[in-house]
C-alpha cells in the first residue's frame, strides 16, 4: 500500500513575477512606503522611532488579539472600542492621585493598581460573556449582537462618567504609579524598553500558546472552520464560543486600563472606533471572516503595518486625511489578495 505521496518537483515552472508581486503585495507596499519615507527623511531610521512605533502598537495589538480569536471563531466584535472605554474610565476613576483636586471619589484611598485592573477586567469579561451567550445560545448574528453591546456599553460608560460632582469632565490627575505602569520603561544603561512592549509581547506569547497548544484554541478554530463538524466531533460549541468571547473581554479590560494610563486620562469617548482598527489589523494579517483561519504572527504584522504607516507618514508630514485613504486602500487590497489566494488555482 502506498503511503504519503512525495511532493513532485514543481519548481521547473517558470517563476511567475505577477503571482509573486500579487501574493506579497502588502509587504511590498509597506517596503515601498518605508523606502519613500526614508528617502524623504533619513532620520526616520532610528531606534527611538522604532521603539515609539512598537510602544504605540502595543495596546492596539492586545485589542487585535482579542477580537482576532472571535474572528477565527467566525464572529466579530463591534463592542470592542466601547468595552475599552468602560475599562479606561472606571480604572482611571479609581486611580486618581490622592492629592488631585477633582477626584471622582474624593475619599478613596490609594489603591494598589492590581485591584482596579482586576475590577475592569472582570467587567469587560462579563460584557463579552454576554456577547458570547447571545451569539452561542440565542443564535444572534455576532455583528448584530455586538452592535447592540456597543451601544449598551457606551450608555453604561456615559452614565458612570457624566455625574456629579464634576459632570462630563475628563478623568485626569491619575496616580503616578498607575501612569508609570504604562508609560515607564526598563532601563539598561542608556537603552530602555517601554513596559508596554513587554506587556504586548507577553500577551502575544500567551495568546499564541492558547491558540496553538491548547484544546481551547483547537476548539476555537474548529467552531470557526465548521461549526457542525465541530459539534459532531464532540466539541462543546457553547463553551468554545463563550471562552473565546470572555478571553477577548479580558484582553479589552487589560488594554483599556493600559490605555487610560498611557494617555493619562479617560473620557466616555476613549476607545471610540478602536474595533475598526483592530478588525482591520486582523484582516490585513490574514484572518478571514469565513472563520477558521488566522495566526498570531499575522495579527502582529497587521497591527504593525498600520502603525508604521501612520507614524511614518506623520514623520514626513503627510496630511492625516491622506493617511486615512492609504489605510483604507490597504484594507481593501489585503482582502482582495487574500480572497484570490483561497481560490485554489
Amino acid at each position: 500500500m502506498e503511503a504519503t505521496v512525495t511532493p513532485k518537483d514543481t519548481s521547473k515552472k517558470p517563476f511567475n513575477w505577477v503571482e509573486f508581486l500579487l501574493n506579497n503585495a502588502i509587504a511590498i507596499i509597506l517596503i515601498m512606503l518605508l523606502v519613500v519615507i526614508v528617502i524623504i527623511e533619513p532620520r526616520f531610521l532610528s531606534i527611538v522611532n522604532f521603539r515609539n512605533i512598537l510602544a504605540q502598537a502595543s495596546t492596539r495589538l492586545i485589542f487585535a488579539l482579542g477580537v482576532g480569536g472571535i474572528i477565527i471563531a467566525k464572529g466579530t466584535d463591534l463592542s470592542l472600542g466601547r468595552q475599552v472605554g468602560i475599562a479606561a474610565v472606571i480604572s482611571a476613576s479609581l486611580l486618581q492621585a490622592v492629592d488631585y483636586a477633582y477626584r471622582m471619589y474624593p475619599d478613596l484611598p490609594k489603591l494598589p493598581i492590581l485591584v482596579p485592573v482586576l475590577a475592569v477586567v472582570t467587567i469587560t469579561a462579563i460584557l463579552s460573556g454576554i456577547n458570547g451567550f447571545v451569539v452561542a445560545k440565542l443564535k444572534v448574528d455576532p455583528f448584530v449582537a455586538t452592535l447592540g453591546m456597543q451601544v449598551i456599553a457606551f450608555g453604561l460608560t456615559s452614565i458612570y462618567f457624566d455625574r456629579p460632582p464634576y459632570g462630563a469632565q475628563p478623568i485626569g490627575g491619575l496616580d503616578r504609579d498607575f501612569m508609570n505602569w504604562a508609560q515607564g520603561a526598563f532601563k539598561i544603561g542608556s537603552f530602555h524598553i517601554p513596559f508596554l512592549i513587554i506587556y504586548a509581547t507577553v500577551v502575544a506569547v500567551i495568546v499564541w500558546v492558547l491558540w496553538n497548544k491548547t484544546r481551547f484554541g483547537k476548539n476555537m478554530y474548529a467552531v470557526g472552520g465548521n461549526i457542525d463538524a465541530a459539534t459532531v466531533s464532540g466539541v462543546n460549541v457553547f463553551k468554545a464560543l463563550m471562552s473565546t468571547y470572555i478571553f477577548a473581554g479580558i484582553l479589552y479590560g487589560l488594554g483599556g486600563a493600559l490605555e487610560a494610563a498611557r494617555v493619562g486620562s479617560a473620557t466616555n469617548r476613549t476607545g471610540e472606533g478602536y474595533e475598526l482598527d483592530a478588525i482591520a489589523a486582523c484582516i490585513v494579517g490574514g484572518l478571514s471572516f469565513n472563520g477558521g483561519i488566522g495566526t498570531v504572527p499575522g495579527i502582529i504584522f497587521g497591527t504593525l503595518i498600520f502603525m508604521v504607516i501612520s507614524y511614518g507618514l506623520n514623520f514626513i508630514g503627510i496630511s492625516p486625511y491622506l493617511q486615512y485613504i492609504v489605510k483604507g486602500l490597504i484594507i481593501i487590497i489585503a482582502v482582495a489578495i487574500d480572497s484570490r489566494k483561497y481560490k485554489s488555482r
Binding site: E2, T4, T214, R215, K218, A222, T231, V232, G234, V235
Partner: protein
C-alpha cells in the same frame, strides 16, 4: 444564444487549428469537444498528465476513474475554473480557453454540478433565466419567462410549476431544473457530475429518459459517475483515467464492468468485497424503543448489536436512517428510548458524551458536518481526540498528534502531499479516509457509518470494506447505513430495514435477497 447551436461544425473549418500531438484536420468534425494533452499540476500533485478527451456530438460519454484520477480537475479546466498548464481545448475544431462558466455557457458548454448551485430562496424561473432575464420596456418580462420555461420543461417531460421556489423542490426536481437550464442555453455539451448520487430509482429512470432525449437532439453529454450499472445502461463511450493519466476510450456496449474496474484501478479486483472473516460475539449495544422528537421521523425502533458485527441499515430515501444513527450518537434529540451498552444504560445527550461512551459517527454529509476544509490533515485527524494529547499544564502534545496522524495516513493509505495540507484540497475519497481515521483514533467500541462509501471510487471502497471487516475482527461493533444494496449484501452480517420511519424488519444477510429487502423497505409506505 441561438446562433451557436444552429451553426454546424463545418462552417468553422477556415479557422486555423494548431495541430496537437494526435490532432489531424480530418478529425475535426467528428468531435464536438476535443481536449488534447491537458496537464495540470498542484503543489505536490500532478493532477493531470497530458490527458486526452474526445466527445462526439449526440453521445453520452462516461468519464471514469478513481477519486483523484483527475475527472473533476479536467472538467474544471474545461470551464476555466482551473487554468491548465499545457494542452489545448477545441470546440468543434475551434481552439477555446474559457475563463468563466458564463463564457463556457455562451459557447454551449454547460455543467450540472454535484452540489447544485442554485439560489434556493427564489423561484424556478428566476434561476433558469438568472443573468439573462428577458425584458420588456426595461422591466422583466415575467410572462415570457414563464412561457419559455414551460416550453423547455415540456420538451424534457418535466412536470413542475415554473413558479415553485427551489427550496420547496426535492433534490431530483432541483436537478431537473438545472438540466432544463442547460438546455435553455442550447447547450451542445452538458457535463453531469455524479447526477444520480441522491436520486431514487424512479428519479434515475426519469433522468435517463431526459438524457436519451437530449442525445437524440444531438447534445453531447459527459457523464461522471461511480455507478457501473448506470454506465452500462446509459453510456455510449467510456473514457478512463487513472492517477491523472489517460488510460483509454472504450465502447460502452462491449466493455465489461470487470474490465472497466480493471482499467480504473490498474489491477484486477477478484471480488468486489473482501472475504468476510469476522464473527459476531456478545451483544454490546441494545437500542430500545427509540423515537425521535419529530413525529414524522423514526418511531419505536429497537434492535441490538453484537461485538464484531457489521449491522447494515437499509431503506429508501426518507426512511429516516440518518436520523436514527444521528440520534443514537446524540447529534439529534430523542423523545424516548434507551441505550444499553454492555447491559448498562447510557444516555448520549450530545456527541461529546457519545464519544466518551465509546461511540463514533462518520456522518452522511462530509462537507456539511464532516471536514474542516480550511484546516490541515493533522487538525482534521485529531480534533475529536484532543483529550489524549494533553500533557503538562494542559498543553497539547504536537508530536503525539503528528504521530497518530501519520499512523492514520499510513493505515488508510491517505494520499496527501503532507500533514499540513488543507483538507479541502484533497479528493473526496481521501477526505473520507481522514474522517474515518479521526474516529478510529478515538478507539470507539461502536462505530456508526452513514453512507461511508458515498462518492468514493471502487478501489477506495474496497479498502474501506476491508477496514470495516478488519475492525469487526478485532471486536468492533459497526453499524453501516447505506443506499447501495450490493455493499450491504457484501459486507454486513445482518440488515435492519427501515420503512417510512419504522423498523420493517431485520434480516440475516446470508439468507436474504435484494427482493426481500425491497419489499420490507416498502412495507409502511
Amino acid at each position: 444564444m441561438d446562433q451557436i447551436a444552429d451553426a454546424t461544425p463545418a462552417e468553422k473549418t477556415d479557422q486555423e487549428v494548431t495541430v496537437g500531438p494526435i490532432g489531424s484536420a480530418s478529425e475535426k468534425n467528428e468531435y464536438v469537444l476535443e481536449m488534447r494533452g491537458i496537464s495540470k499540476a498542484f503543489p505536490g500533485v500532478q493532477a493531470l498528465d497530458a490527458v486526452d478527451f474526445k466527445l462526439r456530438p449526440g453521445s453520452i460519454h462516461a468519464l471514469l476513474g478513481e477519486n483523484g484520477a483527475g475527472k473533476s480537475t479536467l472538467m474544471k479546466v474545461l470551464f476555466g475554473i482551473y487554468r491548465k498548464d499545457s494542452g489545448e481545448i477545441l470546440i468543434e475544431g475551434e481552439p477555446v480557453e474559457f475563463t468563466s462558466s458564463k463564457q463556457a455557457l455562451d459557447h454551449g458548454v454547460s455543467m450540472v454540478h454535484q452540489e447544485l448551485n442554485q439560489v434556493r430562496s427564489t423561484r424556478i424561473v428566476d434561476n433558469l433565466w438568472l443573468g439573462r432575464f428577458p425584458t420588456k420596456n426595461g422591466f422583466i418580462d415575467e410572462q415570457k419567462m414563464k412561457v419559455d420555461t414551460q416550453e423547455v420543461f415540456d420538451s424534457l417531460d418535466i412536470n413542475l410549476d415554473p413558479h415553485t421556489r427551489i427550496s420547496d423542490l426535492s433534490v431530483s426536481s432541483a436537478q431537473m431544473v438545472e438540466i432544463a437550464k442547460a438546455v435553455s442555453y442550447n447547450a451542445r455539451i452538458i457535463v453531469m457530475d455524479e447526477p444520480t448520487s441522491s436520486l431514487t430509482e424512479n428519479e434515475v429512470n426519469h433522468l435517463f429518459r431526459i438524457l436519451r432525449t437530449l442525445r437524440e437532439n444531438g447534445t453531447a453529454i459527459v457523464y461522471i459517475s461511480h455507478k457501473m450499472d448506470e454506465i452500462k445502461q446509459i453510456a455510449d463511450e467510456v473514457t478512463i483515467f487513472r492517477d491523472g493519466k489517460y488510460v483509454g476510450t472504450f465502447d460502452a456496449a462491449t466493455i465489461s464492468i470487470d474490465e472497466i474496474i480493471h482499467q480504473m484501478v490498474g489491477r484486477n479486483l477478484e471480488n468486489w468485497f473482501p472475504p468476510k472473516t469476522n464473527h459476531p460475539g456478545e451483544v454490546i449495544l441494545e437500542v430500545k424503543d427509540f423515537s425521535s422528537t419529530n413525529p414524522r421521523s423514526f418511531q419505536g425502533v429497537s434492535f441490538d448489536l453484537r461485538e464484531g458485527e457489521i449491522l447494515g441499515i437499509s431503506g429508501l430515501v426518507g426512511s429516516q436512517r440518518t436520523e436514527l444513527v444521528e440520534s443514537i450518537f446524540g447529534y439529534r434529540t430523542i423523545q424516548n428510548g434507551t441505550l444499553l451498552k454492555n447491559g448498562n444504560s447510557v444516555v448520549n445527550r450530545n456527541p461529546a458524551v457519545a464519544i466518551q461512551n465509546g461511540f463514533s459517527l462518520v456522518t452522511e454529509e462530509r462537507r456539511a458536518n464532516g471536514i474542516f476544509g480550511v484546516a490541515d490533515v493533522t487538525f482534521n485527524s485529531t480534533i475529536a481526540h484532543l483529550k489524549a494529547y494533553l500533557g503538562k499544564f494542559s498543553m497539547l502534545n504536537d508530536k503525539g498528534m503528528r504521530e497518530d496522524t501519520q499512523r492514520s495516513v499510513d493505515q488508510l493509505s491517505i494520499k496527501t502531499p503532507s500533514q499540513k495540507t488543507r483538507l479541502s484540497s484533497l479528493s473526496g475519497g481521501n477526505q473520507q479516509k481522514v474522517i474515518l481515521g479521526r474516529w478510529l483514533l478515538t478507539s470507539p467500541d461502536i462505530l456508526l457509518l452513514d453512507e461511508p462509501t458515498r462518492g468514493i471510487d471502487v478501489g477506495a471502497k474496497y479498502e474501506i470494506y476491508q477496514l470495516m471487516i478488519e475492525l469487526a475482527n478485532q471486536g468492533e461493533a459497526i453499524i453501516m447505513v447505506s443506499s447501495e444494496m450490493p455493499e450491504l449484501l457484501g459486507v454486513t452480517d445482518r440488515i435492519l430495514v427501515m420503512s417510512n420511519g419504522r423498523m420493517a424488519g431485520i434480516v440475516d444477510t446470508k439468507e436474504t435477497t435484494q427482493e426481500e429487502i425491497m419489499t420490507l423497505a416498502a412495507k409502511y409506505l
